[in-house]
Amino acid sequence: MTLALTPEELDAIRLSLRVALWAMACSLPPAVLVALVLARGRFWGKALLDGIVHLPLVLPPVVTGYLLLLLFGRQGPLGRFFAEAFGLVFAFRWTGAALAAAIMGFPLMVRAIRLSLEAVDRRLEAAAATLGAGALGVFATVTLPLMLPGIIAGLILSFARSFGEFGATITFVSNIPGETETLPLAIYAFTQAPGGDPMALRLTLVSVAVSMSALLAAELLARRLARKLAPA
């Protein structure tokens, strides 16, 4: 077994990284918004929203993937809307893989951000208001920097979850080499093919390396931030 990667394997790795990064980046703004609403909002139906956000965490991934297929497939209501309004097609495309990954990682990201938001000292926000900061100013200069550790944790969790997403992806966008065949899907395909074991093992090592690096990076960042944000 050699350690050099075949073009096919490299494709899978590149695709996985692209899918995971897009899923992570596009989840962030809505995740912050939902975390804000869940942590601070008081409205009827909050428990329902909380439930919906957490659904991908408890549903079998296949179910989530199938629901995505129904909603975002070519004939699905949302799928048709996105195709017509923005020319954005999800079905059997890498964008669909990113969508599935984003949905699966969303509850983890919201949870991490919400926890850090709840830990933000609201008395500091009141102090900022007395110094002339309006609601947006307080959020940008006090709340957001103080919840940064949670945001980073949320990003890493979402990235790791996206990088490893399997069930929802294969159900929603199938396994098309070069388009939707991410790393886990490629590993699965190799294990099913005769003589594919060395390739599966190599990709497994890559997977372990990427996940470990993400965790280490998160840990380092968290430590630096903890030093910086030490309570006064």
Binding site: A127, A129, T130, L131, G132, A230, A232
Partner: protein, 363 residues
């Protein structure tokens, strides 16, 4: 009037129903914990919207529930120094100080240099809040509030979390603030020495209500309010001036409306105004001029009021010239000395607390 406030609000079982008007200088909101001081200050800051209320600061109407006016906190230009400092942990001291300027760019006064000089902040500006002592944090918090160019400064027990040494380190800065800037200050405290030292106007609060408003001398000299200031600390405050120094014995003579007081030498020039607090429990009453007595201060006056409770002790207000002095004696002494309003008496003062320091001076 500099500040006019009226507020009614209910927080659980606590009911705030307070109103006062006050002039420039330091307005001390004084009362025990739970009297509603912080709640009232939060109404002034705009951090709490009362069920009913009205607030005007230097002519600007900031709250009037009857007319539906509520200026939000960030538009009030009211600085707030909190008990716990509340510095932003993710910013340096310099960024904390300039925080208000990010939102109020036109403000040119006071300058960073002025505030740094006023509060001796130069060695601190590049540090982070976590690396500051409690006293330093409070100085930065004061500077941060000042740099937002406030029309009024609220200080909510800024010294309460500091030890005695740190307190005496910060007090001179607050006095400088009062004397050198013209910003009116509302100072919340439950400490009589702090209030005696700083207040221009004293607002006494108890159970969500304002019990009295006046000068420190007026409010502290009232017999009916003594239970509300706390029996142990109750006592009258006299405005005095340094009249002479006695180098031989290391003493200083003070002159006040009640007469002359002799205290251990003060390193203050002649004519300096000082506030002297004489606690009711440090006053002995005699019917005849005491002779051969070690106490230096014997003041002549008459009994003005007696608050006779059913406890062992009772409080008496003495009129000494135009000034008042409170005394606490036992009810037995009251009967044996046959004291009644109008009785001529001599007040022997065992010790006084001088307004320029929280410590009591024994004499």
């Amino acid at each position: 009037m500099t500040i006019e406030i009226e507020a009614e609000h209910r927080l659980g079982a606590f009911r705030l129903e307070a109103a006062f008007a006050s002039g420039p200088g330091v307005t001390a909101l004084f009362g025990r914990s739970g009297a509603g001081k912080t709640t009232l200050v939060n109404v002034i800051a705009g951090l709490l919207r009362p069920a009913r209320g009205r607030l005007a600061v230097e002519g600007a109407l900031l709250l009037d529930t009857a007319r539906g006016i509520f200026v939000p906190a960030h538009k009030r230009r009211i600085g707030y120094v909190f008990q716990e400092g509340r510095l932003f942990p993710h910013l340096t001291v310099r960024q904390n100080l300039l925080f208000g300027r990010w939102f109020h760019r036109k403000a040119a006064h006071p300058t960073m240099a002025e505030v740094v000089a006023l509060l001796d902040l130069a060695p601190l500006v590049d540090r982070r809040p976590a690396a500051l002592s409690g006293g330093e944090k409070q100085r930065v918090a004061i500077g941060r509030a000042l740099l937002a160019d406030p029309r009024l400064l609220l200080m909510d027990e800024p010294l309460a979390s500091l030890d005695a040494e740190r307190k005496s380190e910060i007090l001179p800065y607050i006095e400088r603030l009062r004397d050198e800037t013209k910003i009116p200050i509302v100072y919340v405290s439950h400490s009589i020495p702090e209030v005696t030292r700083l207040a221009t106007t004293l607002v006494l609060m108890a159970a969500g209500r304002v019990e009295a408003v006046g000068t420190v001398e007026e409010v502290m000299g009232r017999l009916d309010l003594a239970p509300k200031t706390g029996r142990f600390e109750a006592g009258a405050v006299l405005e005095a001036r340094v009249a002479s120094h006695d180098a031989t014995y290391g003493l200083t003579q003070l002159r006040c409306a009640a007469g002359e007081l002799t205290v251990p030498r003060l390193a203050l020039p002649l004519g300096t105004a000082v506030r002297v607090r004489i606690r009711a429990r440090d006053v002995i009453i005699a019917r005849e001029p005491p002779r051969a007595i070690s106490a230096l201060n014997v003041l002549r006056g008459r009994v003005a009021e007696i608050a006779a409770g059913d406890a062992a002790q009772c409080e008496i207000r003495l009129a000494l010239g135009s000034a008042s002095l409170l005394a606490r004696i036992t009810r037995r002494s009251l009967a044996e000395l046959d004291l009644a309003p109008g009785s001529e008496v001599f007040a022997v003062v065992k010790s006084v607390a001088l307004g320029d320091g929280p410590e009591t001076v024994e004499i």
